[in-house]
């Protein structure tokens, strides 16, 4: 299982500032945006429950006498081969996936956006090196780099997040560089230079706000890919070490029992799907909602 790493469509949405409330309204009015928001909200609630310890059972507690039981009043989504509650483990797995993905995407988003802005705004002296590094990273299959890092460094969730974060840096470089390149040639950036604003201020106050929509959409989409990559790594046994629950390793453990105990596979599988589909729909919805060309005062 490899994650398709394609940057979101790079359109420069230069126009009116979408008033935040208007953007929300547009988001929730589109089917994709509404469903995406609901699914992501579900995921977030699950993750918060897990982090707050509000799971019916301890996700790692074993109940050997209750091994491989189907869904019931006691175990809502059944138990696994050690008699651990699958519902609790799924919530905890969602929490872990989210933690890894958020840290990874935050890392790649900040580093990648900064690099992309610099590569787009400054001349060839900056552009050359940034793009060279980007291309090398881009040529790396995400799983391979993550694998290398996970095997050479200590294996914990932070290493995984670091690996995914590094691999995703180029995505943000790519989606931001083009728009910045064309923003640089707009009259309001020229005006800012003529009137003597320092470069740092131009980047922070004039360039960044005008690519924030693109970055927001990319963050959402990248989160969904990061969830998949994290699941893939765990599935391969390179994720967070057991017994910490992870959606990927739950799927891995389930494959032996899936034919007789379908519920072991169903819960983590559905969680991954909700996660990925939700974030993707939300990303699509945001792309439309944040595009100021789509009815600014509606």
């Amino acid at each position: 299982m490899t994650t398709a790493v394609t940057p979101a469509e790079t359109t420069v949405a230069v126009g009116a500032p979408p008033a935040t409330t208007a953007a929300w309204r547009r988001l929730l009015r589109s089917p994709a945006g509404l469903i995406g928001t609901v699914l992501v909200a579900l995921i977030l609630i699950g993750a918060i429950c897990a982090i707050a310890g509000l799971t019916p059972y301890d996700p790692v507690a074993q109940h050997p006498r209750d091994a491989l039981q189907g869904p019931s009043g006691r175990y809502w989504l059944g138990t696994d081969q050690f008699g651990r509650d699958i519902f609790s483990r799924t919530l905890a797995g969602i929490g872990n996936s989210l933690r890894v993905s958020v840290v990874a995407v935050a890392l790649s988003g900040v580093v990648g956006t900064l690099a992309g802005v610099c590569a787009g705004y400054f001349g060839n002296k900056v552009r050359g090196p940034v793009l060279a590094v980007t291309n090398v990273l881009f040529a790396f299959p995400p799983l391979l780099l993550a694998l290398t890092l996970a095997t050479t460094l200590t294996r914990n969730w932070a290493t995984i997040a670091l690996a995914i974060g590094i691999v995703y840096v180029p995505i943000f470089v790519r989606v931001t560089r083009g728009p910045v390149l064309s923003l640089r040639e707009t009259d309001f950036i020229r005006a800012a230079r003529v009137v003597g604003l320092p470069t740092r201020r131009i980047l922070a106050r004039h360039i960044l706000p005008n690519i924030s929509a693109i970055v927001t959409v990319q963050v959402t989409l990248s989160l969904s890919w990061a969830v998949l990559t994290e699941a893939s790594l765990s599935f391969l046994g390179l994720g967070s070490p057991p017994p910490a629950p992870s959606l990927g390793s739950m799927v891995f453990d389930a494959k032996v029992f899936a034919s007789t105990a379908w519920w072991t596979l169903a819960a983590p599988g559905v969680a991954i799907v909700i996660f990925v589909v939700g974030l993707n729909l939300l990303g699509d919805g945001l792309r439309d909602a944040l595009d100021p060309r789509n009815g600014r005062n509606s």
């Binding site: 126009g15 009116a16 500032p17 309001f188 005006a191 003529v194 009137v195 003597g196 604003l197 004039h206």
Partner: protein
């Protein structure tokens, strides 16, 4: 006060290894409070000249001096301080304001960076004054650019340029993107400001009637050079260069507020600036071209007091009379 000497600018040809000679040695001077009109067809290098004068781009060669200080060698803070004195108003008011900044922030930011109006309260007051100066309601500070009309936005652009108290304002086709109905208003505002603030203008347009309306002196550009230059009346009413004659002939309406933007229509095609003709660059389109025009590039020479022209034929015709 402002003096450009022998400015040239070459751009690499896209997807080739040649160069476009966007400016081929332009010199000009501007005195305090004076308005220099620059006319020429599309592609003649007017905007390139403007960009070099405000230091948006570096010239390939040549210098720009302001009160004796060479701007082309300045960097960083010193450049920021000097370039304040030369400001620019952009052609398209729809793209020249940051869509994510309120009007008040656009102007306040400029004042803050240059520490021009003291504290926040002082800046707020100054922003109000600036808006008033350009004929806008000071309550517009809370608005975003997209809530304003084209004419209002152009006024904000003027206010932004004036915020740093410049001596020279470059106007690159300042009204050609506006509705015909508001052009005269903006032109009148520019006229008033020039008088009240003793500003010097470089007014760029391909519309001769517009230039006539506002200029003290006029420079006519063709293919990256100035081919005729002098007092506006002499240059426009008594044109010596066949190119100026052709530009002027294309403009039937003298009142700019009534005129649609008039594309100067000179017979023939503009030559490829990457591959200019030999001799006088205008000779392939010139009704008066002679042998000398094919081989020798004419220099800008005095024809009369305060009127120079780069044309073999015009100069020869004038010399015996002088």
């Amino acid at each position: 006060m402002l003096r450009a000497t022998n400015l040239t600018k070459q751009y690499p040809v896209r997807g080739g290894d040649g160069v476009v000679q966007a400016l081929a040695g332009v010199s000009l001077e501007l005195a305090e409070g004076e308005t220099l009109g620059i006319v020429g067809e599309s592609g003649s290098g007017k905007s390139t000249l403007a960009k070099l004068l405000v230091r948006l781009e570096d010239p390939t060669s040549g210098t720009v001096e302001l009160d004796g200080v060479d701007l082309t060698t300045l960097r960083g803070g010193a450049l920021r301080e000097q370039r304040r004195r030369i400001q620019m108003l952009f052609q398209d008011p729809y793209s020249s304001l940051n869509p994510r900044q309120r009007i008040g922030a656009i102007l306040g930011e400029v004042l803050a960076v240059h520490r021009l109006a003291g504290d926040a309260r002082g800046r707020q007051r100054r922003v109000g004054e600036l808006l008033d100066l350009v004929g806008l309601d000071p309550r517009l500070t809370q608005r975003y650019p997209h809530e304003l009309s084209g004419g209002q936005r152009q006024r904000v652009g003027i206010a932004r340029a004036l915020a740093v108290e410049p001596k020279v304002l470059l106007l690159d086709e300042p009204v050609s993107a506006l509705d015909v109905s508001v052009r005269a208003e903006i032109m009148n505002l520019l006229d008033d400001l020039r008088r009240d603030l003793r500003l010097a203008y470089v007014f760029i347009s391909h519309d001769v009637s517009m230039v006539r309306h506002i200029s003290d002196r006029v420079a006519v550009m063709y293919l990256g050079r100035i081919v005729e230059q002098g007092d506006w009346k002499s240059v426009l009413d008594d044109s010596a260069h066949p190119y100026t004659v052709a530009l002027g002939a294309a403009v039937p309406v003298p009142d700019p507020s009534l005129a649609e933007p008039i594309q100067a229509t000179v017979v023939g095609e503009v030559p490829d600036p990457a591959n200019p003709p030999s001799g006088c660059p205008f000779h392939p389109r010139c009704p008066l071209a002679e042998d000398v025009c094919l081989s020798t590039d004419p220099k800008l020479l005095p024809l009369r007091p305060n009127h120079n022209v780069a044309c073999h034929v015009a100069i020869r015709a004038a010399v015996p009379a002088a």
